[in-house]
Protein backbone atom coordinates (compact mmCIF):
# COMPACT_ATOMS: atom_id res chain seq x y z
CA UNK A 1 0.00 0.00 0.00
CA UNK A 2 1.19 3.51 -0.72
CA UNK A 3 0.90 6.33 1.81
CA UNK A 4 -2.33 7.52 0.18
CA UNK A 5 -3.88 4.06 0.35
CA UNK A 6 -2.93 3.67 4.02
CA UNK A 7 -4.64 6.98 4.80
CA UNK A 8 -7.68 6.01 2.73
CA UNK A 9 -8.01 2.74 4.61
CA UNK A 10 -7.65 4.33 8.06
CA UNK A 11 -10.16 7.02 7.14
CA UNK A 12 -12.76 4.58 5.87
CA UNK A 13 -12.49 2.46 9.05
CA UNK A 14 -11.89 5.16 11.67
CA UNK A 15 -13.28 8.25 9.96
CA UNK A 16 -15.04 9.63 13.04
CA UNK A 17 -11.80 9.58 15.09
CA UNK A 18 -9.50 11.22 12.53
CA UNK A 19 -9.48 15.02 12.50
CA UNK A 20 -7.49 15.32 9.29
CA UNK A 21 -4.69 13.66 7.40
CA UNK A 22 -1.94 14.43 4.92
CA UNK A 23 0.99 12.92 3.08
CA UNK A 24 4.01 14.81 4.35
CA UNK A 25 7.09 14.36 2.12
CA UNK A 26 5.96 10.83 1.36
CA UNK A 27 5.00 9.79 4.90
CA UNK A 28 1.36 9.27 5.90
CA UNK A 29 0.36 11.53 8.79
CA UNK A 30 -2.84 11.41 10.85
CA UNK A 31 -4.13 14.22 13.06
CA UNK A 32 -6.07 12.84 16.00
CA UNK A 33 -7.61 14.36 19.12
CA UNK A 34 -6.39 13.28 22.57
CA UNK A 35 -9.72 11.54 23.30
CA UNK A 36 -9.51 9.35 20.22
CA UNK A 37 -5.81 8.49 20.21
CA UNK A 38 -6.14 5.26 22.16
CA UNK A 39 -8.92 3.98 19.88
CA UNK A 40 -6.93 4.84 16.76
CA UNK A 41 -3.74 3.31 18.17
CA UNK A 42 -5.58 0.11 19.09
CA UNK A 43 -7.09 -0.08 15.60
CA UNK A 44 -3.72 0.50 13.90
CA UNK A 45 -2.07 -2.19 15.99
CA UNK A 46 -4.74 -4.84 15.64
CA UNK A 47 -5.99 -4.35 12.09
CA UNK A 48 -4.72 -7.32 10.09
CA UNK A 49 -4.06 -5.30 6.91
CA UNK A 50 -2.03 -2.60 8.65
CA UNK A 51 -0.58 -4.37 11.70
CA UNK A 52 1.46 -1.51 13.13
CA UNK A 53 3.07 -3.68 15.79
CA UNK A 54 6.22 -1.63 16.36
CA UNK A 55 6.33 1.71 18.16
CA UNK A 56 9.36 3.61 16.94
CA UNK A 57 9.13 6.59 19.26
CA UNK A 58 6.89 9.14 20.92
CA UNK A 59 7.93 12.74 21.12
CA UNK A 60 6.51 16.05 22.17
CA UNK A 61 6.62 19.47 20.60
CA UNK A 62 5.95 22.96 21.84
CA UNK A 63 4.72 25.48 19.25
CA UNK A 64 4.73 28.48 21.59
CA UNK A 65 6.74 30.70 19.25
CA UNK A 66 4.48 29.98 16.30
CA UNK A 67 1.47 31.27 18.17
CA UNK A 68 -0.95 28.54 17.19
CA UNK A 69 -3.66 26.52 18.86
CA UNK A 70 -3.27 24.05 20.46
CA UNK A 71 0.18 24.84 21.81
CA UNK A 72 1.54 21.32 22.37
CA UNK A 73 1.72 18.24 20.25
CA UNK A 74 2.53 14.58 20.84
CA UNK A 75 3.90 12.68 17.88
CA UNK A 76 3.80 8.89 17.52
CA UNK A 77 5.86 7.09 14.89
CA UNK A 78 4.76 3.52 14.12
CA UNK A 79 6.21 0.80 11.92
CA UNK A 80 4.63 -2.38 10.67
CA UNK A 81 7.37 -5.02 10.72
CA UNK A 82 5.67 -7.54 8.42
CA UNK A 83 4.21 -5.09 5.90
CA UNK A 84 7.03 -2.52 6.06
CA UNK A 85 4.76 0.51 6.44
CA UNK A 86 5.23 3.55 8.62
CA UNK A 87 2.76 6.09 9.89
CA UNK A 88 2.93 9.21 12.03
CA UNK A 89 0.15 10.31 14.37
CA UNK A 90 0.08 13.89 15.66
CA UNK A 91 -2.07 14.76 18.64
CA UNK A 92 -2.61 18.38 19.63
CA UNK A 93 -2.74 19.19 23.36
CA UNK A 94 -3.93 22.44 24.89
CA UNK A 95 -1.88 24.46 27.33
CA UNK A 96 -4.62 24.33 30.01
CA UNK A 97 -5.04 20.57 29.99
CA UNK A 98 -2.14 18.65 28.42
CA UNK A 99 -3.62 15.24 29.19
CA UNK A 100 -3.33 12.19 26.98
CA UNK A 101 -4.03 8.50 27.66
CA UNK A 102 -1.14 6.07 27.72
CA UNK A 103 -0.53 3.60 24.89
CA UNK A 104 1.85 1.50 26.99
CA UNK A 105 -0.86 -1.15 27.33
CA UNK A 106 -0.54 -1.69 23.55
CA UNK A 107 3.21 -1.23 23.12
CA UNK A 108 5.44 -1.77 26.14
CA UNK A 109 8.03 0.33 24.35
CA UNK A 110 5.90 3.39 25.15
CA UNK A 111 6.73 3.25 28.86
CA UNK A 112 9.92 5.28 28.69
CA UNK A 113 9.06 7.86 26.03
CA UNK A 114 5.84 8.66 27.88
CA UNK A 115 7.74 9.18 31.12
CA UNK A 116 10.07 11.43 29.18
CA UNK A 117 7.08 13.46 27.95
CA UNK A 118 5.94 13.89 31.56
CA UNK A 119 9.45 14.87 32.59
CA UNK A 120 10.43 17.18 29.77
CA UNK A 121 7.06 18.68 28.76
CA UNK A 122 4.88 18.17 31.83
CA UNK A 123 2.17 16.27 29.97
CA UNK A 124 -0.18 14.23 32.10
CA UNK A 125 -0.22 10.67 30.78
CA UNK A 126 -3.30 8.97 32.25
CA UNK A 127 -3.08 5.27 32.96
CA UNK A 128 0.73 5.12 32.93
CA UNK A 129 1.94 2.61 35.57
CA UNK A 130 4.88 4.70 36.80
CA UNK A 131 4.64 8.36 35.89
CA UNK A 132 7.70 9.96 37.45
CA UNK A 133 10.68 11.97 36.33
CA UNK A 134 13.03 10.00 34.15
CA UNK A 135 16.01 12.04 33.05
CA UNK A 136 15.84 15.05 35.36
CA UNK A 137 16.18 14.55 39.14
CA UNK A 138 13.01 13.89 41.17
CA UNK A 139 13.11 17.30 42.87
CA UNK A 140 13.57 19.28 39.65
CA UNK A 141 11.24 22.20 38.99
CA UNK A 142 9.92 22.98 35.54
CA UNK A 143 9.86 21.11 32.27
CA UNK A 144 13.06 21.77 30.34
CA UNK A 145 11.86 21.21 26.77
CA UNK A 146 9.01 23.71 27.01
CA UNK A 147 9.81 26.81 25.03
CA UNK A 148 9.23 29.11 28.01
CA UNK A 149 11.87 27.29 30.05
CA UNK A 150 15.05 29.37 29.88
CA UNK A 151 18.03 27.82 28.20
CA UNK A 152 20.96 29.31 30.02
CA UNK A 153 20.17 29.58 33.70
CA UNK A 154 21.42 26.74 35.82
CA UNK A 155 19.45 25.74 38.89
CA UNK A 156 22.10 24.69 41.39
CA UNK A 157 21.54 24.94 45.14
CA UNK A 158 24.65 26.98 45.82
CA UNK A 159 24.24 29.11 42.73
CA UNK A 160 23.68 32.86 42.92
CA UNK A 161 21.34 32.92 39.94
CA UNK A 162 18.24 31.42 41.58
CA UNK A 163 16.24 34.61 41.89
CA UNK A 164 17.28 35.69 38.44
CA UNK A 165 15.95 32.44 37.07
CA UNK A 166 12.60 32.79 38.79
CA UNK A 167 12.13 36.20 37.22
CA UNK A 168 13.08 34.83 33.85
CA UNK A 169 10.66 31.91 33.97
CA UNK A 170 7.81 34.29 34.70
CA UNK A 171 8.57 36.97 32.19
CA UNK A 172 10.52 35.73 29.20
CA UNK A 173 10.22 33.08 26.53
CA UNK A 174 13.26 30.92 25.94
CA UNK A 175 16.36 32.78 24.86
CA UNK A 176 17.76 32.12 21.46
Amino acid sequence: MTSDEIIEKVKSDQGENIESSEVNLGDPVLFVGPDAIHKVAEYLKNDSDLNFDYLSHITGADYLNEDREPRFEVVYELHSIDKNYSIRIRVGLTEEDPTIPTVSDLWKGALYPERELFDMFGFNITGHPNLSRLIMPEEWEGNPLRKDYPLTIEDVTFSHNREFKQDLVKSKPATR
Binding site: S56, T59, I81
Partner: protein, 399 residues
Amino acid sequence: MAVTEQGLLEREKDSMTLNMGPSHPSTHGVFRIVLEMDGELVDSAEPHIGFLHTGIEKTSEAKRYVHVIPMTDRLDYLSPPGNNLAFCLPVEKLLQTEIPERAQYLRVIMCELARMASHLVWLATHALDIGAMTVFLYCWREREMILDLNEEISGVRMMTSYIRLGGVAQDATPGWLNGVQKFIDYFPAKIDEYERLLTNNPIWIDRTKDVGIMRREEAINWSMSGPILRAAGVNWDLRKQRPYSGYDNFDFEVPTGKNGDIYDRYLVRVAEMRQSREIVKQALQKIPTGPYKVDDNKISLPSRDTLKSSMEALIHHFKLVSEGISVPKGETYVPIEGPRGEVGFYIISDGSGVPSRVKLRAPSFMAIPGMCRMMEGCFIADVVGIIGSIDIVMGEVDR
Protein backbone atom coordinates in the same frame (compact mmCIF):
# COMPACT_ATOMS: atom_id res chain seq x y z
CA MET B 1 11.93 2.76 43.82
CA ALA B 2 13.42 4.79 46.60
CA VAL B 3 15.71 2.86 48.91
CA THR B 4 15.11 4.44 52.31
CA GLU B 5 15.86 3.17 55.78
CA GLN B 6 12.16 3.03 56.57
CA GLY B 7 11.51 1.10 53.40
CA LEU B 8 14.13 -1.47 54.34
CA LEU B 9 12.56 -2.01 57.77
CA GLU B 10 9.01 -2.33 56.48
CA ARG B 11 9.72 -4.92 53.86
CA GLU B 12 7.67 -8.06 54.17
CA LYS B 13 9.50 -10.28 51.75
CA ASP B 14 12.85 -11.73 52.65
CA SER B 15 14.58 -10.18 49.69
CA MET B 16 17.63 -8.02 49.34
CA THR B 17 17.98 -4.74 47.51
CA LEU B 18 21.23 -4.47 45.61
CA ASN B 19 22.47 -1.27 44.06
CA MET B 20 24.59 -1.41 40.91
CA GLY B 21 26.17 1.73 39.60
CA PRO B 22 25.99 4.57 38.67
CA SER B 23 29.71 3.99 38.42
CA HIS B 24 30.08 0.29 37.84
CA PRO B 25 32.59 -1.09 35.34
CA SER B 26 30.01 -3.24 33.57
CA THR B 27 27.39 -0.54 33.06
CA HIS B 28 29.48 1.12 30.35
CA GLY B 29 28.91 4.64 31.52
CA VAL B 30 26.91 6.17 34.31
CA PHE B 31 23.92 3.91 34.63
CA ARG B 32 22.39 2.87 37.94
CA ILE B 33 20.22 -0.16 38.40
CA VAL B 34 18.53 -1.24 41.62
CA LEU B 35 18.03 -4.98 41.78
CA GLU B 36 15.53 -6.65 44.06
CA MET B 37 17.16 -10.00 44.79
CA ASP B 38 15.65 -13.25 45.95
CA GLY B 39 18.82 -15.10 46.88
CA GLU B 40 20.84 -15.46 43.68
CA LEU B 41 17.87 -14.59 41.46
CA VAL B 42 16.75 -11.17 40.31
CA ASP B 43 13.13 -10.44 41.23
CA SER B 44 12.90 -7.08 39.57
CA ALA B 45 15.26 -4.48 38.20
CA GLU B 46 14.67 -0.75 38.34
CA PRO B 47 16.86 1.39 36.10
CA HIS B 48 17.86 4.96 36.95
CA ILE B 49 19.14 7.10 34.12
CA GLY B 50 19.91 10.75 33.57
CA PHE B 51 23.38 11.00 35.10
CA LEU B 52 24.87 12.01 31.76
CA HIS B 53 22.07 14.37 30.75
CA THR B 54 23.63 17.32 28.93
CA GLY B 55 20.49 18.82 27.39
CA ILE B 56 21.58 18.34 23.81
CA GLU B 57 17.99 18.46 22.51
CA LYS B 58 17.37 21.76 24.29
CA THR B 59 20.73 23.22 23.24
CA SER B 60 19.98 22.33 19.62
CA GLU B 61 16.98 24.64 19.71
CA ALA B 62 19.39 27.56 20.06
CA LYS B 63 21.98 26.48 17.46
CA ARG B 64 22.01 26.74 13.70
CA TYR B 65 21.59 23.50 11.80
CA VAL B 66 25.29 23.29 10.98
CA HIS B 67 26.20 23.69 14.64
CA VAL B 68 24.06 20.77 15.73
CA ILE B 69 26.22 18.28 13.82
CA PRO B 70 29.20 18.33 16.24
CA MET B 71 26.76 17.77 19.12
CA THR B 72 25.30 14.70 17.43
CA ASP B 73 28.79 13.15 17.58
CA ARG B 74 28.56 13.20 21.35
CA LEU B 75 25.27 11.31 21.48
CA ASP B 76 26.30 7.86 20.34
CA TYR B 77 30.02 8.45 20.75
CA LEU B 78 30.94 5.03 19.40
CA SER B 79 29.48 5.73 15.98
CA PRO B 80 29.54 9.48 15.26
CA PRO B 81 29.10 9.26 11.45
CA GLY B 82 25.84 7.36 11.93
CA ASN B 83 24.48 10.17 14.08
CA ASN B 84 25.68 12.85 11.65
CA LEU B 85 23.90 11.05 8.86
CA ALA B 86 20.75 10.59 10.94
CA PHE B 87 20.66 14.35 11.52
CA CYS B 88 21.52 15.34 7.94
CA LEU B 89 18.95 13.11 6.21
CA PRO B 90 15.75 14.71 7.59
CA VAL B 91 17.14 18.22 7.13
CA GLU B 92 18.07 17.37 3.54
CA LYS B 93 14.60 15.90 3.09
CA LEU B 94 13.07 19.20 4.19
CA LEU B 95 15.46 21.06 1.88
CA GLN B 96 14.65 18.56 -0.89
CA THR B 97 18.22 18.33 -2.14
CA GLU B 98 19.86 15.54 -4.06
CA ILE B 99 23.21 14.49 -2.61
CA PRO B 100 25.97 13.77 -5.17
CA GLU B 101 26.76 10.11 -5.62
CA ARG B 102 30.35 10.28 -4.46
CA ALA B 103 29.25 11.91 -1.21
CA GLN B 104 26.72 9.12 -0.69
CA TYR B 105 29.40 6.48 -1.16
CA LEU B 106 31.74 8.27 1.26
CA ARG B 107 28.89 8.46 3.77
CA VAL B 108 28.27 4.74 3.44
CA ILE B 109 31.96 3.91 3.85
CA MET B 110 32.24 6.07 6.97
CA CYS B 111 29.05 4.66 8.50
CA GLU B 112 30.10 1.07 7.92
CA LEU B 113 33.60 1.69 9.29
CA ALA B 114 31.92 3.22 12.34
CA ARG B 115 29.65 0.19 12.65
CA MET B 116 32.69 -2.08 12.64
CA ALA B 117 34.46 0.09 15.22
CA SER B 118 31.36 0.21 17.39
CA HIS B 119 30.84 -3.55 17.26
CA LEU B 120 34.54 -4.01 18.10
CA VAL B 121 34.14 -1.90 21.23
CA TRP B 122 31.01 -3.85 22.09
CA LEU B 123 32.75 -7.22 21.61
CA ALA B 124 35.80 -6.08 23.55
CA THR B 125 33.91 -4.81 26.59
CA HIS B 126 31.22 -7.50 26.53
CA ALA B 127 33.84 -10.25 26.49
CA LEU B 128 35.78 -8.47 29.22
CA ASP B 129 32.64 -8.25 31.38
CA ILE B 130 32.14 -11.98 31.07
CA GLY B 131 35.82 -12.63 31.74
CA ALA B 132 37.58 -13.03 28.40
CA MET B 133 40.44 -10.57 28.67
CA THR B 134 42.31 -11.39 25.47
CA VAL B 135 39.51 -10.45 23.09
CA PHE B 136 39.49 -6.97 24.60
CA LEU B 137 43.08 -6.33 23.53
CA TYR B 138 42.61 -7.79 20.04
CA CYS B 139 39.48 -5.76 19.32
CA TRP B 140 41.10 -2.55 20.52
CA ARG B 141 43.99 -3.21 18.13
CA GLU B 142 41.70 -3.30 15.09
CA ARG B 143 39.56 -0.38 16.28
CA GLU B 144 42.71 1.70 16.46
CA MET B 145 43.20 1.20 12.72
CA ILE B 146 39.69 2.52 12.02
CA LEU B 147 40.35 5.51 14.28
CA ASP B 148 43.52 6.22 12.30
CA LEU B 149 41.45 6.21 9.10
CA ASN B 150 38.99 8.60 10.78
CA GLU B 151 41.84 10.88 11.70
CA GLU B 152 43.23 10.88 8.20
CA ILE B 153 39.95 11.87 6.55
CA SER B 154 38.48 14.23 9.14
CA GLY B 155 41.35 15.28 11.38
CA VAL B 156 39.73 13.79 14.46
CA ARG B 157 39.92 10.25 15.78
CA MET B 158 36.47 9.88 17.31
CA MET B 159 34.22 12.95 17.02
CA THR B 160 34.59 13.16 13.27
CA SER B 161 31.66 15.46 12.26
CA TYR B 162 32.56 14.27 8.78
CA ILE B 163 29.07 14.05 7.30
CA ARG B 164 27.70 17.54 6.72
CA LEU B 165 24.52 19.00 5.33
CA GLY B 166 24.67 18.59 1.58
CA GLY B 167 27.56 16.15 1.46
CA VAL B 168 30.70 15.47 3.44
CA ALA B 169 33.35 17.71 4.97
CA GLN B 170 36.09 17.02 2.44
CA ASP B 171 36.93 14.70 -0.39
CA ALA B 172 38.69 11.38 0.17
CA THR B 173 42.16 11.09 -1.27
CA PRO B 174 43.20 7.98 -3.25
CA GLY B 175 45.64 7.29 -0.43
CA TRP B 176 42.82 7.16 2.12
CA LEU B 177 40.70 4.86 -0.05
CA ASN B 178 43.78 2.67 -0.38
CA GLY B 179 44.13 2.61 3.38
CA VAL B 180 40.49 1.51 3.75
CA GLN B 181 41.12 -1.23 1.17
CA LYS B 182 44.14 -2.41 3.17
CA PHE B 183 42.08 -2.51 6.35
CA ILE B 184 39.22 -4.52 4.88
CA ASP B 185 41.68 -6.99 3.34
CA TYR B 186 43.25 -7.44 6.76
CA PHE B 187 40.06 -7.51 8.84
CA PRO B 188 38.32 -10.86 8.01
CA ALA B 189 41.23 -12.93 9.35
CA LYS B 190 40.93 -10.99 12.60
CA ILE B 191 37.19 -11.67 12.89
CA ASP B 192 38.06 -15.36 12.50
CA GLU B 193 40.53 -14.91 15.32
CA TYR B 194 37.85 -13.52 17.68
CA GLU B 195 35.50 -16.29 16.67
CA ARG B 196 38.17 -18.93 17.37
CA LEU B 197 38.45 -17.52 20.87
CA LEU B 198 34.73 -17.31 21.60
CA THR B 199 32.23 -19.01 19.29
CA ASN B 200 32.91 -22.61 20.36
CA ASN B 201 34.39 -21.77 23.72
CA PRO B 202 32.46 -23.86 26.31
CA ILE B 203 32.75 -21.18 29.02
CA TRP B 204 31.45 -18.49 26.64
CA ILE B 205 28.55 -20.74 25.57
CA ASP B 206 27.70 -21.57 29.21
CA ARG B 207 27.59 -17.91 30.12
CA THR B 208 25.60 -16.70 27.10
CA LYS B 209 23.38 -19.43 25.67
CA ASP B 210 19.74 -19.33 26.89
CA VAL B 211 20.51 -16.30 29.05
CA GLY B 212 18.60 -13.03 28.77
CA ILE B 213 16.09 -14.45 26.33
CA MET B 214 13.71 -12.15 24.50
CA ARG B 215 11.54 -13.77 21.85
CA ARG B 216 10.20 -12.27 18.64
CA GLU B 217 6.80 -10.94 19.80
CA GLU B 218 8.21 -9.55 23.00
CA ALA B 219 11.15 -7.87 21.28
CA ILE B 220 8.79 -6.11 18.87
CA ASN B 221 6.40 -5.10 21.64
CA TRP B 222 9.20 -3.66 23.80
CA SER B 223 10.50 -1.58 20.83
CA MET B 224 13.89 -3.25 20.77
CA SER B 225 15.82 -2.55 17.60
CA GLY B 226 18.94 -3.44 15.71
CA PRO B 227 20.87 -6.61 16.58
CA ILE B 228 18.60 -7.41 19.56
CA LEU B 229 15.54 -7.50 17.32
CA ARG B 230 17.34 -9.47 14.64
CA ALA B 231 18.73 -11.96 17.16
CA ALA B 232 15.09 -12.68 18.08
CA GLY B 233 14.49 -13.70 14.48
CA VAL B 234 12.95 -10.51 13.07
CA ASN B 235 14.29 -9.66 9.65
CA TRP B 236 14.24 -5.88 10.08
CA ASP B 237 17.13 -3.79 8.91
CA LEU B 238 16.40 -0.23 7.81
CA ARG B 239 19.24 -0.39 5.28
CA LYS B 240 17.10 -2.98 3.45
CA GLN B 241 13.62 -1.88 4.54
CA ARG B 242 14.02 1.89 3.96
CA PRO B 243 17.15 2.24 1.82
CA TYR B 244 18.83 5.61 2.36
CA SER B 245 22.10 7.05 1.01
CA GLY B 246 22.11 4.49 -1.78
CA TYR B 247 22.21 1.36 0.37
CA ASP B 248 20.03 -0.33 -2.26
CA ASN B 249 23.08 -0.38 -4.56
CA PHE B 250 24.87 -2.85 -2.32
CA ASP B 251 24.46 -6.55 -2.09
CA PHE B 252 24.56 -7.72 1.52
CA GLU B 253 22.73 -10.05 3.86
CA VAL B 254 20.86 -9.31 7.07
CA PRO B 255 22.01 -11.82 9.68
CA THR B 256 19.25 -12.99 12.02
CA GLY B 257 19.23 -15.27 15.05
CA LYS B 258 16.61 -17.64 16.38
CA ASN B 259 16.53 -17.79 20.17
CA GLY B 260 16.98 -14.13 21.09
CA ASP B 261 19.55 -14.91 23.78
CA ILE B 262 22.93 -13.29 24.44
CA TYR B 263 24.72 -15.85 22.28
CA ASP B 264 22.53 -15.08 19.27
CA ARG B 265 23.16 -11.37 19.71
CA TYR B 266 26.86 -12.14 19.70
CA LEU B 267 26.55 -14.17 16.48
CA VAL B 268 24.42 -11.50 14.80
CA ARG B 269 26.87 -8.70 15.61
CA VAL B 270 29.90 -10.70 14.48
CA ALA B 271 28.11 -11.55 11.22
CA GLU B 272 27.21 -7.86 10.84
CA MET B 273 30.89 -6.93 10.99
CA ARG B 274 31.51 -9.27 8.06
CA GLN B 275 28.57 -7.76 6.13
CA SER B 276 29.81 -4.22 6.83
CA ARG B 277 33.15 -5.22 5.44
CA GLU B 278 31.37 -6.57 2.37
CA ILE B 279 29.53 -3.24 1.89
CA VAL B 280 32.76 -1.24 2.20
CA LYS B 281 34.43 -3.56 -0.29
CA GLN B 282 31.68 -3.00 -2.87
CA ALA B 283 31.67 0.74 -2.17
CA LEU B 284 35.38 0.97 -2.85
CA GLN B 285 34.94 -0.85 -6.15
CA LYS B 286 32.05 1.31 -7.31
CA ILE B 287 32.87 4.75 -5.88
CA PRO B 288 32.41 7.32 -8.68
CA THR B 289 34.35 10.51 -9.18
CA GLY B 290 32.59 13.84 -8.93
CA PRO B 291 31.68 16.48 -6.39
CA TYR B 292 31.59 15.57 -2.69
CA LYS B 293 28.94 18.14 -1.73
CA VAL B 294 25.94 19.72 -3.39
CA ASP B 295 26.56 22.54 -5.81
CA ASP B 296 24.04 24.81 -4.12
CA ASN B 297 25.44 27.86 -2.39
CA LYS B 298 22.34 28.10 -0.21
CA ILE B 299 23.39 24.85 1.51
CA SER B 300 27.14 24.37 1.18
CA LEU B 301 29.86 26.99 1.27
CA PRO B 302 31.26 28.13 -2.10
CA SER B 303 34.78 26.97 -2.86
CA ARG B 304 37.68 29.04 -1.62
CA ASP B 305 39.00 30.22 -5.00
CA THR B 306 35.65 31.56 -6.24
CA LEU B 307 35.51 33.91 -3.25
CA LYS B 308 38.22 36.10 -4.73
CA SER B 309 36.60 36.52 -8.14
CA SER B 310 32.83 36.17 -7.68
CA MET B 311 30.74 38.71 -5.79
CA GLU B 312 27.82 36.30 -5.69
CA ALA B 313 29.93 33.61 -4.04
CA LEU B 314 31.09 36.12 -1.44
CA ILE B 315 27.51 37.13 -0.62
CA HIS B 316 26.46 33.49 -0.32
CA HIS B 317 29.44 32.82 1.91
CA PHE B 318 28.56 35.74 4.17
CA LYS B 319 24.89 34.77 4.34
CA LEU B 320 25.64 31.13 5.10
CA VAL B 321 28.14 31.91 7.83
CA SER B 322 26.11 34.70 9.47
CA GLU B 323 22.57 33.31 9.11
CA GLY B 324 23.00 29.62 8.42
CA ILE B 325 20.93 27.41 6.20
CA SER B 326 17.25 28.32 6.19
CA VAL B 327 15.21 25.16 6.15
CA PRO B 328 11.61 25.30 4.84
CA LYS B 329 8.87 25.07 7.42
CA GLY B 330 7.79 21.54 8.18
CA GLU B 331 8.61 18.45 10.17
CA THR B 332 9.97 15.07 9.24
CA TYR B 333 11.62 11.92 10.51
CA VAL B 334 14.05 9.64 8.66
CA PRO B 335 15.14 6.49 10.47
CA ILE B 336 18.51 4.89 9.73
CA GLU B 337 20.13 1.69 10.95
CA GLY B 338 22.87 2.54 13.42
CA PRO B 339 25.08 -0.06 15.09
CA ARG B 340 22.62 -0.28 17.99
CA GLY B 341 19.44 -0.10 15.95
CA GLU B 342 17.03 2.50 14.67
CA VAL B 343 18.49 5.99 15.00
CA GLY B 344 16.54 8.94 13.75
CA PHE B 345 15.97 12.61 14.30
CA TYR B 346 12.49 14.09 14.33
CA ILE B 347 13.07 17.65 13.22
CA ILE B 348 10.61 20.53 13.33
CA SER B 349 11.61 23.57 11.34
CA ASP B 350 9.88 26.93 11.73
CA GLY B 351 11.44 28.24 8.53
CA SER B 352 14.37 29.98 10.19
CA GLY B 353 18.02 28.99 10.42
CA VAL B 354 17.54 27.45 13.85
CA PRO B 355 15.62 24.19 14.40
CA SER B 356 12.48 24.51 16.47
CA ARG B 357 12.71 20.98 17.84
CA VAL B 358 15.36 18.27 17.48
CA LYS B 359 14.39 14.92 18.92
CA LEU B 360 16.63 11.88 18.83
CA ARG B 361 15.12 8.43 18.68
CA ALA B 362 17.91 6.60 20.49
CA PRO B 363 17.99 2.79 20.28
CA SER B 364 19.73 2.36 23.66
CA PHE B 365 17.14 4.54 25.38
CA MET B 366 14.28 2.51 23.95
CA ALA B 367 16.03 -0.77 24.90
CA ILE B 368 16.43 -0.07 28.62
CA PRO B 369 12.94 -1.11 29.83
CA GLY B 370 13.19 -4.27 27.74
CA MET B 371 16.61 -4.99 29.21
CA CYS B 372 15.15 -4.89 32.73
CA ARG B 373 12.40 -7.23 31.60
CA MET B 374 15.12 -9.68 30.46
CA MET B 375 16.79 -9.53 33.86
CA GLU B 376 13.73 -10.74 35.76
CA GLY B 377 14.36 -14.28 36.94
CA CYS B 378 18.00 -14.48 35.89
CA PHE B 379 21.05 -14.92 38.09
CA ILE B 380 22.91 -11.92 39.45
CA ALA B 381 26.02 -12.96 37.51
CA ASP B 382 24.06 -12.78 34.23
CA VAL B 383 22.98 -9.18 34.80
CA VAL B 384 26.40 -8.06 33.63
CA GLY B 385 26.14 -10.20 30.51
CA ILE B 386 22.68 -8.85 29.69
CA ILE B 387 23.76 -5.22 30.02
CA GLY B 388 26.71 -5.99 27.76
CA SER B 389 24.57 -7.73 25.14
CA ILE B 390 22.29 -4.67 24.80
CA ASP B 391 25.33 -2.53 24.02
CA ILE B 392 24.06 0.63 25.70
CA VAL B 393 25.74 3.96 25.15
CA MET B 394 24.75 6.37 27.89
CA GLY B 395 25.47 9.40 25.74
CA GLU B 396 22.38 8.71 23.64
CA VAL B 397 20.28 7.42 26.55
CA ASP B 398 20.56 10.61 28.61
CA ARG B 399 21.17 13.04 25.74
